[in-house]
Subunit: 139 residues, 2 copies
């Protein structure tokens, strides 16, 4: 029972995200280490009194972020520690760049729709390349 997770009842955050955040945090804090096994989805679900699917969704997100590796029948395990915090830090940098870019676009008079069109056009250039990852597309 290495896991200490608490769900805030009246929180604005969805439950699956609360689980995701707390596990992420505990990995970052070193309370969970590579190879550690997370509770089975049904077990954690029972403990938190939520639906197993909600836990499964959190685990799925964790795997998507590279924080854990899941093997059906075996369990869900903390993965390599190298992919952890830097990822989140990078994402917040990317968010800032998006804000800045959108702000510039708005300033020259573009509407949200026009900005989105531009973005989608550029993104489609890259979509071919990320086929290599994209087998777990369940959002």
């Amino acid at each position: 029972m290495p896991l200490w997770i608490q769900i805030a009842p009246g929180s604005k955050q969805p439950v699956y995200k609360q689980i995701f955040d707390q596990v992420s945090q505990q990995i970052a804090q070193g309370k969970l280490n590579t190879g550690d096994k997370l509770p089975a989805v049904r077990n954690l679900a029972a403990e938190l009194v939520v639906n197993p699917n909600t836990v499964a969704r959190a685990y799925s997100l964790l795997e998507q972020k590279g924080l854990v590796i899941t093997k059906t029948g075996a369990g869900t395990f903390i993965s390599d520690p190298k992919l952890k915090d830097p990822d989140m830090q990078q994402i917040s940098i990317i968010n800032d760049r998006f804000d800045n870019l959108i702000s510039q676009a708005v300033n020259i008079g573009m509407t949200g729709e026009q900005i989105r069109e531009l973005f989608e056009k550029r993104l489609s250039q890259f979509n071919k390349l990320d086929d290599i990852h994209g087998d777990k597309t369940n959002d």
Copy 2:
């Protein structure tokens, strides 16, 4: 009858945004010029067969973006000539920035869907500047 606005019935875009976009565009194209008066909210609403509040919201957005000036009792007028003719050079700079940003995101392992998710979230934050209306921020 200076205004030519069409509402797409099955569009994904909300009506108020369609109105906003089309008026913006007509300003950019020079079909509407500083000082021109927009139709009264009730008149345009009747013409488009939508609720007056929907038109009012579009006008409100336009004012928020600095494109028009509204005076209760008088009407709504085109204001600022700054945002005409969206600058193509600027747009190509923005395209470059998008490429660069997407490239960075892909490099840290994000999928196209994840990048789009981030982008949409930041964009919606920008569109959510409706707060100048009233302080009914009761959420």
